[in-house]
């Protein structure tokens, strides 16, 4: 599934034109992106949390040359699925069997 399929769903369910639906889906993701860019976490009840984590710098090694290098501190994004989402995915899996 891609963004185009989400746009199609919005078009069918809410009744906006495809062009408007595309703009709105774009708005949702661009808000999500700029919020995360600011380091703020996003909590979607029943779905999960997107959290920006800080990683301290650490010593690493280039596996090819064996040379020691410093891996700089950085910020990464993690997604923690909610229990509700995890259960939903596993329930379907069981029913299918």
């Amino acid at each position: 599934m891609t963004k185009a399929d989400i746009v199609e769903k919005i078009h069918q369910k809410i009744g906006f034109s495809k062009k408007e639906s595309a703009e709105m889906v774009e708005t949702v993701f661009s808000i999500l992106k700029s919020t995360l860019e600011d380091g703020e976490k996003i909590k979607i009840a029943g779905f999960g949390n997107f959290v920006v984590k800080r990683k301290a710098d650490r010593r690493g090694r280039n596996p090819q040359t064996g040379e020691t290098i410093t891996i700089d501190a950085r910020r990464i994004l993690t997604f923690k699925p909610s229990q509700v989402l995890k259960n939903a995915i596993n329930t379907v899996a069981k029913e299918a069997k």
């Binding site: 599934m1 891609t2 963004k3 399929d5 989400i6 769903k9 919005i10 369910k13 809410i14 703009e23 709105m24 889906v25 708005t27 949702v28 993701f29 808000i31 999500l32 992106k33 919020t35 995360l36 860019e37 380091g39 703020e40 976490k41 996003i42 909590k43 979607i44 009840a45 029943g46 779905f47 999960g48 997107f50 920006v52 950085r74 910020r75 990464i76 994004l77 993690t78 997604f79 699925p81 989402l85 995890k86 939903a88 995915i89 596993n90 379907v92 899996a93």
Partner: protein
């Protein structure tokens, strides 16, 4: 930011929406991702990231209190991989 704050922000950004429609929009976005994952489909949002299902195999574990061996069955878990653009933006 919570889901309701996101719904409000969408209304502020996109003048032509009211709260009710914005709520339906945001819910539909996350519901469609969930529905796709339920059927085992992967979801790819360019510039944001992709959601896939990872299989966790069953294993034997121990109840730390009683020391009793318990079987943990195989299960599926949703996994999110941050897209290239977002990864770079978060790390700035």
């Amino acid at each position: 930011m919570t889901k309701s704050e996101l719904i409000e922000k969408v209304v502020q950004t996109h003048g032509m929406l009211n709260m009710k429609v914005s709520e339906a929009l945001v819910n539909t976005v996350f519901d469609s991702i969930e529905d796709a994952l339920k059927t085992g489909d992967k979801v790819e949002i360019r510039g944001f990231g992709s959601f896939t299902i990872r299989e966790r195999s069953g294993r034997e574990a121990r109840n730390p209190k009683s020391g009793e061996v318990v079987r943990i069955p195989a299960k599926k878990t949703p996994f999110f991989k941050t897209g290239k653009e977002l990864k770079e933006r978060v790390n700035c």
